[in-house]
């Protein structure tokens, strides 16, 4: 199969930004936590954008995937720490469990919610998210509302030194890797038949159907991919990094709303958008928390409203229009 390199040019600016973030965080003392937070937002935005940006379906229950990813990692570490011989493989088992649990919930959501459209879809997703949370709490699954704590297990397997390294450094690096993967998959989809199908679905699902596009298939592909990436982010940024999980902390719609804000700020359905949105959102949230602690949300809401009214296509949407016809065009999608 011939690989068309030019297709992947838009990845250059994306990876350049990620690399800069990484280097800044790594070499400037005291900035690693901030950079890790930004990478978390960018990765989430990028993962969420694969489904929402390309199909136009707003998945309010997206946090379900992140939460189940966290539980996957928690279960992996808790139960497989009995076999210390597995070593680092335990982390990979955790990731596999994250993928497995998110697949189950994707099947559940696809079965129930993907049949619906618009607001009904969004509400059904919220319902599933809340339902799962209360199921875990009520039926006392995986520790119920008391959650799971597994720092002890982690140190038993890896020793304190390595465990600290894993949670404070490698978990964050993994988020960068997932963000890079999400960007690659995003471009791959955009520039393939899948992307055409998804765009057709976003623009007019009925028309897409009568033109011979198997809408269910492509929606499911995008939904699963987006969910898997979210679960991986959850497994690393929450599961491994925090070494605890409580249902009341992870099944929180607030994070879905953050995803929406990030993607809308940056530009829905663009590649660079979630990255730029993640940076703007993360930095301003961080900065406002320092200069006006306690008031950041009060200030942030009107700023977001102004930006959305001024740039409804998002930052990258505006940039895209500006560079149209210039040499930069092929790098920015």
């Amino acid at each position: 199969m011939k690989i068309n390199i030019a297709k992947y040019y838009p990845l250059i600016p994306v990876y350049a930004v990620y690399l800069t973030m990484f280097l800044v965080g790594f070499f400037v003392p005291g900035l690693w936590q901030l950079v890790a937070l930004l990478a978390f937002y960018c990765a989430l935005g990028q993962s969420w954008n694969i489904f929402m940006g390309m199909t136009g379906y707003v998945d309010f229950g997206y946090v379900t995937f992140i939460a189940l990813g966290t539980y996957g990692m928690a279960l992996g570490i808790t139960y497989f720490s009995q076999f210390p011989g597995l070593g680092i493989a335990i982390i990979f088992i955790g990731l596999l469990l994250a993928l497995f649990l998110s697949t189950l919930s994707a099947i559940l959501e696809a079965g129930i919610a993907l049949r619906l459209r618009g607001a009904y879809f969004a509400i059904a997703c919220i319902g599933i998210n809340e339902g799962l949370r209360h199921l875990i709490e009520g039926a006392k699954i995986w520790g119920g509302s008391e959650g799971m704590l597994y720092w002890k297990e982690l140190t038993e397997v890896f020793g304190t030194e390595t465990a600290i390294q894993l949670t404070t450094l490698w978990a964050d690096i993994a988020v960068f890797i997932i963000a890079a993967m999400a960007a690659f998959i995003n471009v791959y989809y955009m520039r393939s038949k899948i992307g055409y199908a998804l765009t057709a679905i976003r623009e007019d699902e009925d028309a897409a159907k009568v033109m011979g596009i198997d809408t269910t298939k492509y929606k499911t592909i995008a939904f699963l991919t987006s969910g898997w990436l979210g679960a991986l982010v959850g497994a690393m940024a929450w599961g491994l990094k925090l070494t605890h999980v409580f249902p009341a902390d992870v099944f929180v719609i607030h994070y879905t709303v953050e995803c929406i804000v990030i993607v809308v700020l940056g530009g829905i359905g663009t590649l660079l958008g979630p990255l730029v949105g993640g940076l703007i959102y993360g930095l301003s949230k961080y900065w406002l928390a320092i200069i006006l602690p306690g008031f950041q949300l009060l200030i942030f809401a009107p700023i977001i409203i102004c930006i959305i009214i001024a740039f409804p296509e998002g930052v990258i949407g505006v940039v895209k229009r500006r560079v149209k016809g210039t040499r930069l065009e092929r790098y920015i999608i």
Partner: protein
Amino acid sequence: MLKVENLESGYGSMQVLWQLHLEVNKGSITSLLGSNGVGKTTTLCTILGSVELWGGKITYEETDITHLPTHKKVDLGIVLVPEGRHLFVNMTTHENLTMGAYPKEAVKHMAESFELVYSLFPILKERAKQRAGSLSGGEQQMLTIARALMTKPKLIMFDEPSQGLAPKLVGEVFDAIKKMRSEIGLTILLVEQNVEASLNLSDYVYIMHEGRIKAEGSAEEIKGSRDIKEAYLGI
């Protein structure tokens, strides 16, 4: 070419089609006429599979396609020109047409399909780079038809192609339909409210009323029968 037997379908608990039968011969123009709300659009959508089928049998070129999903039917060469256009308004004319060539077979023949639709609708070539949403009503209707042609169909179903068009444009659209049969050899199933124009165009006509076929015959027969025209078509 297409044979529909005892077709039943509806929405939710409301049945719309009752024991509907229909046959479309290869190379013919067959019309399905009737007033508002008798189930014409539902019939087309049920044939294509975008409305759930409750019962009956659909045969296409000797194969049973009753339970095939929509996209497989399009792969087999059945296409619908939907009512109300359903264009991708934010894409250009050219992009809309490219989208039409989605099925595997259609991708292979994309270049000739472009040639074909541009010769049939020269105006679309001039508008190739223009956003579909900025086209005039008539041009949009032509683009919808052209996009359907890009799927490389053998049987093309039109749902009210003259809806909302100025009389002069209605003539153009009907001319294009005629050409599709005579020049490309397509088989056509037409749903219309514009009774006179469709009677002049069609070989065979079905009259629908309250979800059932109430009368059928060659276009000449229907034209000649005052009773049918008065009872079901209101003319």
